[in-house]
Symmetry: C2
Subunit: 141 residues, 2 copies
DNA sequence: GCTTGACCTCAAGCTGGCTTGAAGTGGCAA
DNA sequence: TTGCCACTTCAAGCCAGCTTGAGGTCAAGC
């Protein structure tokens, strides 16, 4: 059973070939050779791609993920995981507050939002920076 | 009582002068004149900056925020607010799942994470894209 | 043997939201 | 009056995570 080449990996994982090359360049994955021009990968690459997706979803940067992926299986620092979980807690708290504020503002029948005490309260919170701006809205695809 | 100039606004709002200029360029705020070289602003600029911070926190882009800020007070499309709230709900759901996964992974005593069924389950979820990668980790300043 | 076309490399571009640097200008104090 | 210095403008740079484009290579099919 031949190792999958880059296009097979791309098709099965949904990760574009350009991204796979990029990940290889970054040291996140490694090809185990070539068939002609084409990179081939160990089937274990699918698991790694899953871990990468997971790490990204958790808010780790690619560099952080690379640092956590040791040659033989992922060796993940449990302390870092807890830190990330705490960060997520904080972010969830903020987003929840935002969401409630938005819902209220949409339902509020004050003539203008500025006359609604609840809106003003959340506005004040944003003004003093108690609600952080997100990384960015929705950049990538 | 004189209108505040750019450095006064920067100091009181915590928003850097370069950002204020950038916002003006983008049409998010407007200066009402100059004192010498320095821009001066209507005191209402503080409220606007609050609204901008609020919108950013809610995940609106600066362009979206600009579109919502009409000359006389913010006129916010309630439907957009509800849409954003729904988006936030989804994001909160994902982040919560991630957080739980991280907490579990940090506590799990399986010899390696790959041998933990719970970890594998969340990994599979990430692999098939049911958990989206966030915009980006923590870019800005 | 020759074409086709998917892959290759390398460099540059894109997105959003700013920041930074160079070069210019104006008000105010000495 | 002269010098300082914070402001100004404009263009370019930065971050992450890719994507895109130009130009090259290789295996397979006719």
């Amino acid at each position: 059973m031949k190792d999958p080449d880059i296009s097979e990996v791309a098709k099965q994982s949904g990760v574009p070939a350009s991204t796979l090359r990029y990940y290889e360049e970054k040291g996140l994955i490694a090809s185990n050779g070539r068939r002609g021009l084409k990179r081939t990968f160990d089937p274990g690459v699918f698991e790694k791609l899953g871990l990468i997706a997971l790490g990204r979803a958790a808010g780790f940067t690619l560099d952080e993920i690379a640092a956590m992926m040791s040659p033989d299986g992922p060796r993940i620092d449990r302390k870092r995981l807890i830190e990330k979980a705490d960060e997520l807690d904080e972010k969830i708290r903020q987003l929840t507050a935002m969401r409630d504020g938005l819902r209220h503002a949409s339902a509020c029948r004050a003539p203008s939002h500025m006359e609604c005490p609840s809106f003003r309260r959340i506005l004040r919170a944003a003004t003093v920076g108690r609600i952080a701006a997100p990384a960015s809205a929705a950049p990538g695809k």
